[in-house]
């Protein structure tokens, strides 16, 4: 019975990713694009969790952690590069 709610949630979250893609492609400045990319990563994390619940498995929980860490590191590196002109 939970499956119907999960499918509707997946549809809503994919619409959210489409909206972020609009800002990612159009955004007037680079920090706009970085914020949109960060949001896409976080929403993707939520989608993978919902797929885990849908398939009744905990095999993909590792990927949730991995995408969280990669999103944070990517945003930090982009912001530092824009601010100072170098990554480290």
């Amino acid at each position: 019975m939970i499956d119907a709610w999960l499918i509707v949630s997946l549809a809503i979250l994919s619409l959210a990713i489409l909206g972020c893609m609009y800002r990612l492609l159009k955004g007037p400045s680079m920090p706009d694009r970085i914020a949109a990319l960060d949001t896409i990563g976080i929403v993707l994390l939520a989608m993978i969790t919902i797929v885990c619940v849908w398939l009744r498995t905990t095999a993909y929980i590792d990927i949730v952690l991995l995408i969280g860490i990669l999103t944070f590191i990517g945003t930090t590196a982009f912001a530092r590069y824009l601010e100072r002109g170098e990554v480290i």
Binding site: M1, L10, A35, I50, R56, V64, A79
Partner: protein, 126 residues
């Protein structure tokens, strides 16, 4: 007992759906707000809230119906909760140093004020 299970599954499904709707509202803010700083407000706060609600729903589902307390999911919740505001703050500071203009309706810019005051103090010492 069976009816209790059905009701619980529906409640958790509505929980996850509420998180997804909050994420969609956050995306609406990202599209519609006029400025980098206002958009980072939408991207950081409400998207984090929605994702945390979804992760909490999944954790409760695994705990109640599969008898599996997922420490990795708990770690993921804590990690997202800690790092998402930090990333938003770094991004906003980079935007301000880069000179991205504020929205024309903004009435004050305290970071610019503090930075110009600090540069003024440094200039006097030198």
């Amino acid at each position: 007992m069976e009816i209790l299970r059905t009701v619980g599954e529906n409640v958790l499904g509505l929980f996850i759906l509420a998180g997804a709707v909050i994420c969609a509202v956050s995306t609406f803010g990202i599209i519609r707000l006029p400025d980098v700083y206002l958009r980072s407000h939408a991207a950081t706060k409400s998207a984090t809230l929605g994702v945390l609600i979804i992760l909490n729903g999944a954790f409760l589902y695994f705990m109640i119906y599969m008898d599996h307390i997922s420490a990795k999911l708990l770690l993921g919740i804590v990690f997202v909760f800690l790092t998402s505001p930090v990333a938003g703050h770094l991004n906003g500071r980079a935007a301000h140093r880069l000179g991205v203009p504020l929205w024309k309706g903004s009435i004050q810019d305290e970071l610019q004020h503090a930075r110009s005051k600090r540069e003024h103090v440094r200039g006097e010492k030198a």
